[in-house]
């Protein structure tokens, strides 16, 4: 136990700290509940998007295999040069129970065949399908990036809040209570000691007083008063 001064002032301070810690714990528990509710909502969206992504990527992989097999990988790569472009994302943020989560502007990156930069005369429909499927996959990946980042941050925050609640519940509050109890016991003990000491002092003083009176009477030759006898 850390060094505590067993005083009434300290006891009052410790009791105030306990009340504050318990209040903090309750607030953190409420925050954790709200975060868990939000987390479960996002988990549902993420699992749906994950399934969609798996389906789309499997589909895209299959069309890619067909295009590589029939049209040759160099024709595919050549077409990919023409279709290459930068993807710019507009990312904002929002606050969920004090957690900053990203919000990615929803827009489709799928293009029509006239927008891919190559002549459709020389590029087969298989290669077009590969481009189309992967563009759709990119759309889903971007949506998933938003929800998965939110999920990760919410998860991290829940974990941190749980650690804080645990720290309050398992460490800080019991420690403070222990300290308060120690102070209280020490003060009680000290009070008892004081009473005992006072009683003892009073007894000694009384005895000394009686001895003094008896000595004075002896010196004066008078018989001791009833109740003053040795």
């Amino acid at each position: 136990m850390e060094q505590v001064h067993p005083t009434r002032m300290e006891l009052m301070k410790k009791n105030a700290q306990i009340r504050l810690a318990e209040q903090g714990r309750d607030l953190l528990k409420e925050k954790m509940d709200a975060l868990i509710r939000e987390f479960l909502r996002v988990v549902h969206t993420v699992s749906k998007s994950r399934e969609e992504l798996e389906f789309l990527s499997e589909n895209a992989r299959r069309t890619l295999l067909t295009a590589q097999a029939v049209d040759d990988s160099v024709a595919l790569q050549s077409a990919s040069f023409a279709a290459k472009r930068m993807v710019t994302l507009n990312i904002k943020g929002k606050n969920v129970m004090g957690v900053a989560v990203p919000v990615i502007e929803k827009r489709s990156f799928s293009r029509s065949i006239c927008q891919r930069g190559y002549s459709i005369i020389g590029v087969s429909g298989r290669i077009d399908e590969v481009a189309e499927r992967y563009e759709r996959t990119v759309d889903v990946i971007i949506g998933l990036a938003e929800t998965e980042t939110a999920l990760r941050r919410l998860g991290g925050e829940i974990q941190m809040t749980r650690r804080r609640v645990n720290a309050l519940e398992q460490v800080l509050i019991p420690e403070l209570k222990k300290q308060a109890k120690y102070i209280s016991i020490t003060i009680d003990e000290r009070e008892r000691e004081d009473i005992f000491r006072l009683k003892k002092v009073k007894k000694i003083l009384d005895r000394k007083k009686k001895e003094k009176i008896a000595t004075r009477r002896q010196d004066a030759g008078t018989a001791p008063l009833p109740g003053e006898g040795p």
């Binding site: 040069f81 023409a82 065949i113 006239c114 930069g117 190559y118 002549s119 077009d128």
Partner: protein, 349 residues
Amino acid sequence: MIKVEIGYVNARVRGMKGRLLQPEALEKMLHKPDVEAIISQLEGTAYHEDLERASVQYAGIYCIEHALRMNLVRTYRTILRIIGGEPFAFCIHIFLNKWDIQNIKTVLRGKHVHIPHEETLACLVPAGELDEATLVELVKQPDIRSIIDMLATWEILYALPLTKAYPRYQAKRDLAVLEYALDKFYFGRALASLQGRSYNEAIVRNLLQTEIDITNIKSLLRLLRDKVSAEDGRAVLIPGGKHLDVAFLSRLMSQGGEDALAGLARTPYASAHPAGRLAGKEISVYEKELDRMLVTQGIGAGRGDPLSIALVIGYLWLKSNEITNIRIISRCKNAFVPDDEIREELMYV
């Protein structure tokens, strides 16, 4: 005189044709357990030399694909050497020039998005008239303007459409402008050079016109699926088809989805009609049927007059088809696709 020269060419090509893989060999390949087993089988064929050279740099599926490309280039170069400057050579050149167009497009695409030279060079297949040295020089040019200038300096005809389309490309920064110009020039020039009445020209003209029809149908379906306006779509269509002219196809395009498909069902290409497929967006299925039709016709052309270039044309289609089949089998084996699926879904003729 010409007949003697054609006789020599045909004799050489017949010899080359004898080295093509028989259907049984492809069937055997289909039952191989993995890519390594396919390589072992191919080592006993005409691909042996190319596989040996490719295996220095690549392994597995990449080794096969590289070897197939090298073999294709070697074969087409041999054909070009055999036919030399014969009067009928231009008919063969028309078939091989498709590779030139593809290579120039690749160089332009690489330059458009600043792809490193090595990557662009790896995508080139010098199976046409433009040899590797020419293509390497083109790739080395700093920008698209310089590539067009270099083509013009070397008096390569493709500089003409590119020079004409360049201002539009510069204004829109859309590479498709240059690509469409090249494609249309290729078909236009090929048709213009096949105006004669000779048997040789008739064979190539017939195939080319069928190819134009099939290309136009494929374009039409893709444009319809993506709901591109008839106005924009018309610019993509190539004039000079055998059965379908641009006006008819434009009309189908303006009619839209189902009506256009019904219109196509009344054409000679009805056997590959995409009933119910366009809705499922599986254009590649219909495209495959159309390609199959074209390959069959190309290979069938080889059964024409033995004293014409029919045999050479047929051989070129057979070779290209064989390479496609080997690539399909290898790729699918590499991806553990079941044999039946490879046979039914992927293999060509």
